[in-house]
Symmetry: C2
Subunit: 270 residues, 2 copies
């Protein structure tokens, strides 16, 4: 059933990964309108999975533990189905650092909250350190694709990955906050100086596990705000929706190009 | 809208927390059959939340980062609604250690993967260590409730909390495994000797955050298998469903007792 899968796209939200599958269905010019795509994981409410031609679209929930369980199960599935030359891409949202809201960041290396390019995995109570570098050629290929889409701010940079959204990312608006606005900005500026251009919650584990298992992997996240300017998203709802579709549009363009498929419909404009 | 909330029950799966809300609705003898309960978080697919009288039932997804985001937002909500004397209970599933499958473990202290009673939170890139003790009186009150339910194996013990399900819990059946069956069993036996009776993925962060914010908190998880005997769940599907309802039955009995409500229907038997 899965032997001819060539692309796996993963993202946090089940609704967004369903929307991506439907968008991919139209972009590949497949029969029907894609509204009837069935969730292959419908028996569980842990993840959602859709198949569109050679593309799987899967949700992974929020954070490293949640994506890690999904990746173990996905990699076993790809192995048993004898899939070859699979490219896996995480598409998501993130907080930006020193870049305009709506920018798409293609990650070259994922960093932990100390700005180190590593993922620490506890194995039988001992910490094992793993590399979090992503595929450089794939990142360049995605950047080249982005240049063909008009008005599509895209850059390659480091992505910081944290274990939570509030204290771990220096937010002042959680239930707890033990630091000042000055300390927060000092930390975020140090992150910027270390090359971090966006912050999310899955990239280190994703890069480490895909790398160890020999999958070519990329992380493509849009920034919803510039954290150097605040903690609250200020973009209007419609613009935010357009921002969230940007990683989907870039990946659709990339997959079409790889498969030699012409665009089926005009690209949506902002 | 939320000022009179006295109990918050949280668990990983949206479907299970919906089922718990419907069960609680019947147990409290409220009007209607509870089938029409609306998801208060229906605008997002991150979490599901249901309200039943003074009880909130909320899903938190899988793992520490996911539950941590939900708890920050919940605690802000309870604060703004001026709720007082709130008891919060995580109900879930877990792997057992040296206890019969189907046993319900009430956590006294959550331990990390080195068997230490601590939660390490990164704050602005520095690690802050937090206590993971839970409310001892509440644990005893829950244990007393369990004794009034026939055929209901329940114990108080330590719960180990890990950042992933496969390597972090010493499973041999993930996509990656770098250790032998002997090393795995040696690790799990050391955990047992340290007082661990079950393993899950949220309790340290839950205990730490609730403790710091002054919420009386408990963790009540059923064990689906004994990890000293294997990695695969062997209980038949129907029995597994009955196991998963055990924490719900115990918490319903506890809340009824606190509220002075008589059972509305006979308790389901296994």
């Amino acid at each position: 059933m899965f032997g001819d899968i060539k692309f796996v796209c993963v993202g946090g939200s089940p609704n967004r990964m369903r929307a991506f599958a439907q968008f991919m269905h139209r972009e590949l010019g497949l029969a029907g309108d894609g509204e009837e795509l069935a969730d292959i994981c419908a028996g569980t409410d842990r993840y959602a999975m859709y198949r569109v031609g050679p593309v799987l679209s899967i949700s992974h929930g929020m954070g490293i533990p949640s994506i890690s369980i999904m990746l173990h199960e996905l990699i076993k599935l790809l192995h048993h189905a004898r899939c070859r030359d699979v490219t896996i891409i995480r598409i998501g949202t993130s907080g930006g650092l020193g870049v305009e809201a709506g920018s798409v960041v293609i990650t070259d290396t994922a960093l932990d909250s100390s700005f180190k390019p590593r993922f620490e995995q506890a194995v039988l109570g001992e910490v094992v350190v793993r590399s979090t570098e992503l595929d450089k050629d794939l990142a360049q290929e995605l950047l080249a694709c982005s240049k063909e889409i008009p008005d599509f701010p895209t850059l390659i940079g480091h992505t910081m990955c944290t274990y939570d959204f509030y204290e771990g990312q220096g937010r002042l608006d959680g239930a707890l906050c033990s630091f000042s606005s000055e300390k927060k900005l000092e930390y975020l500026r140090r992150a910027y100086d270390a090359g971090v251009r966006n912050i999310e919650m899955e990239s280190t584990a994703f890069a480490a596990l895909c790398g160890l298992c020999g999958l070519r992997a990329a992380v493509v996240c849009v920034t919803l705000l510039d954290r150097l300017e605040g903690d609250q998203i200020r973009a209007p709802r419609a613009l935010l929706g357009e921002f969230q579709r940007r990683p989907q549009r870039l990946i659709a363009a990339f997959i079409r190009k790889r498969l030699g498929v012409q665009p089926q419909t005009p690209l949506p404009t902002p």
